[in-house]
Each structure stands twice: as structure tokens, then as C-alpha cells.
């Protein structure tokens, strides 16, 4: 999507247009009406910092998705930012390869990313370089494995129905 597609008359369009100018490698699209930008993981921290300075200053969410086999990379880190003034939500996606799941941390840009990155590490095994305290958050510290990965089993126990002796 080219910059010309942004309606720079609106605050949201101007914001996105400005970001697109600074990051020519970023792919801006929309998904069901929401603006989405795809980046390489190296640009992630810089882009998020620029977005914050441009007005997307409310950190909403950071999560990870496991796509199992995908050419651009197994995992995806998805960041949601919000600009209250421009009433704009932006979804930022960065692909992360499965054999080297490392992404730069966003805690320097948004302190609120701390717990979210720990959760992504805990459940997916994605390492965030530069995170001050990358340890497990939700699971016990000695847990092995990353449960939300698609190749990790659900962990259900078989439910047994035992017949009662002596009853028909």
C-alpha cells in the first residue's frame, strides 16, 4: 500500500503516512478495516519507538502466534498500539523464525511490554533481547516446554469411567 492511500487529512491518516515515509520497508495494509503493518524483526523496536513518538503512545498488547510451517517464519509477534487522540489502532506484526526465535525487546520503549514479553517467552519460547528479566511468568519456574506452541500437546489426562462392581 503506498503512502498515497493514506488520507492525510485525517489525524490517523497523517500519522500512518508519516510512519510509512520513515520506514519504506514496512508493508502497510488493512485487515477488516484495521490498519496493519508488517515489519522485519530488526525494525520492530525502532518502528514502535517512532510510532510512540508520532502519537501511538498507548501500549495495548503484545502477543505471539505459532503458524507452524510458514515460509516467512514460524512465529509471529503482534503488537497493538493505540492513539487516543487520533482514535487509531495499529497492529504491528513481525515474523520470527522458528530456529532462531529472538526479537528485540520493547521494554525500553513501553515499560508495559514487560509482562507481555515474559508471557510470550513463557508460552512460546520467543526470546526478547534486552528484556531486563526474561523469566517464566505464568507457569512454574521449573516447567519445561512452551505450552502454546502448536507441537506441544494439550496435556489432557484420559478420563476414565470405571464400572461399579456388582451393578448391572
Amino acid at each position: 500500500m503506498s503512502d498515497a492511500a493514506f488520507d492525510t487529512a485525517t489525524p490517523a491518516g497523517a500519522l500512518l503516512g508519516g510512519l510509512a515515509e520513515h520506514f519504506p520497508g514496512a508493508g502497510f495494509t488493512t485487515s477488516l478495516g484495521d490498519p496493519v503493518v508488517r515489519l522485519s524483526r530488526e525494525d520492530l523496536a525502532a518502528f514502535v519507538a517512532a510510532a510512540r513518538d508520532a502519537g501511538l503512545d498507548t501500549f495495548i498488547d503484545l502477543c505471539a502466534v505459532d503458524y507452524l510451517s510458514r515460509p516467512e517464519g514460524r512465529f509471529e509477534v503482534v503488537v497493538h498500539l493505540l492513539s487516543m487522540e487520533a482514535r487509531l489502532r495499529l497492529r504491528i506484526q513481525a515474523a520470527v523464525p522458528g530456529d532462531d526465535p529472538r526479537v528485540p525487546s520493547l521494554t525500553a520503549v513501553f515499560p508495559g511490554a514487560n509482562f507481555y514479553e515474559r508471557e510470550a517467552y513463557d508460552l512460546f519460547g520467543i526470546r526478547f533481547d534486552g528484556h531486563p528479566d526474561l523469566t517464566r511468568l505464568l507457569l512454574p519456574d521449573d516447567w519445561e516446554g512452551h505450552p502454546l506452541r502448536k507441537d506441544h500437546p494439550m496435556g489432557s489426562v484420559p478420563v476414565q469411567f470405571k464400572a461399579i462392581e456388582g451393578m448391572p
Binding site: 505464568l138 507457569l139 512454574p140 516447567w143 505450552p147 506441544h152 500437546p153 494439550m154 496435556g155 489432557s156 489426562v157 478420563v159
Partner: protein
Amino acid sequence: MAPATPQGFLTTTLQKAVNWARTRSMWPATFGLACCAIEMMATGAAHNDLARFGMEVFRASPRQADLMIVAGRLSQKMAPVLRQIYDQMPDPKWVISMGACASTGGMFNNYALVQGVDQVVPVDIYVPGCPPGPQSLMHGILTLHEKIRSGEIVR
């Protein structure tokens, strides 16, 4: 119910009196974990009053409690804590497993939950429901009282 050892008139009366006293003022320890905790609090509140059974004092300290109502889903991380709180309770003590998640793991048959708190602590009464309403919980509590008074559960 036949007693295991021959008991005299005085001992059975004493045992009955002790059982009566134990059920009439059984203090629960707060172990509310999730949604069932909200219904447990509702049972203790004014509308469905647990105070009429002498049980409105939910003791925060397990040292002062005799009943532990495990209300909610028990995660793997919380299980050692549950065991420790149970160990800290002085005898005689009873456990009610409130709700489907506490009894069997509920709808969450996965890696994160202990499939039933009876894997960790001995349970006397299971109260099903998701969450069990205050009437169900009270029925469970009263059943426990009956079992203690009749001598079915011996501590």
C-alpha cells in the same frame, strides 16, 4: 453404625457432644481461587447467610480454621501452596472441593490445571457446579455436618 472398639455410655455421649460442637462452629479458611470464590463469598453474605451455621468467619490464617473450601481451579503453580495451607491447618480439619474444576479439573482438561484437588489434599465433600450456587454449597456444607455428627467421618 457399629463403633470399632467397645465404648461405654460416657464415651459415646462425649463423642457425640464433640461432633456436635465441631459442626456448630466450623470456620472456613479462605481459599478462593476463581469464579467459585465469588459464589462462596455470596454464600457468606447476607442473602444466603452462612452465619446461621456459625461459619461466617472466614479465617485468613489457616491456623485458626478447620474447614478448607477449595473454591476454583487449581493450577500447577498453586498446588504446592494448597498443600502447604492444608498442612498448616490444625487437626481436625475437613476439605470441601467446590466446583467442577476443583473436583475433577472441570472443563479445563489441559496442561495447566491439576485434575482435581484430591490429587493434593484429601477431600471429604465434592460440590459439583460451575459455579455451584449458594444453595448447592450450603447443601454440601450441611452434608459434611451430617457426616461428622453421625460419625461417618472420624477425625
